[in-house]
Symmetry: C2
Subunit: 125 residues, 2 copies
DNA sequence: TCCATTACTCACCCAAATGTAAGTAGAATA
DNA sequence: TATTCTACTTACATTTGGGTGAGTAATGGA
């Protein structure tokens, strides 16, 4: 697999190309939440723990620019903006699902016990 | 999906957990090359363009520690070390293949033409 | 008049990932 | 004696992704 350029960046392989589009800390969580319903900016923010305004808006903009989500602005005050997944985004959700299932398998192999961890976090650790 | 801890790090979801094991710039290229044959350190280095000694050795060590590859040292001078994929590593290759296929699809959608780029690189751009 | 509302942007900062360049062991070979 | 070989390690520099905290527009309501 030879290297190739896209938008002035050099990629070594197709995996890297894919991960540059939908990777990072926040893009998959966003797509995951949009997979079966339209959501407003504020809804997304509430539903994704620890995400900041900066990250949510930059990642949404990236995803929109590359065609994974679409943005609908309503001319109202206070503003209302709705995000919905596109067909390209739906294809992304397919692979996200597969990576997620692989992650769950790995977690089992490594003995990560979600139930126990949830309790640990509840008790303040 | 609640958050969970593994090795003192907080994860938000299984995707993040998986990507922490096999993500980054170099782990997938390494696993990909080991998928169907045993390779020596030097062979790996030659076959992976632009990887440095530092990155190759740290990534191999990570992959070994987490059970994706195994390392066999021969008591010779100069040293000889062979790396081979494990069954856990083979499972990783499965998902890598899927991500790779998704990447190839995305590249088509985005109009990335590998043939053309290969020529551009040959001519020194 | 002041405040709440919503969906942002901006300037600045930090830590982690990655890159650079040099060095090392120990035996064989010139 | 100096050099080559291989598989590394180490110190240091740079890049990159993400976090922090503050500010903003335009309108309705108290």
């Amino acid at each position: 697999m030879p290297e190739f350029l896209y938008k002035s960046k050099l990629y070594y392989n197709p995996v890297e190309f894919a991960m540059d589009r939908i990777g990072g800390t926040w893009k998959m969580p966003i797509l995951w939440r949009l997979k079966d319903r339209v959501m407003r900016y504020g809804e997304l923010k509430k539903s994704i723990p620890r995400i900041t305004d900066k990250m949510l808006s930059t990642q949404l903009r990236d995803l929109e620019l590359e065609g994974f989500v679409s943005r609908q602005v309503f001319a109202e005050v206070p503003p209302r903006v709705e995000y919905r997944i596109t067909s390209r985004g739906k294809r992304a959700v397919t692979i996200i699902t597969e990576i997620r299932n692989y992650g769950l398998l790995l977690m089992k192999e490594f003995g990560v016990d979600q139930q126990r961890i949830r309790e640990i976090r509840k008790s303040g650790d």
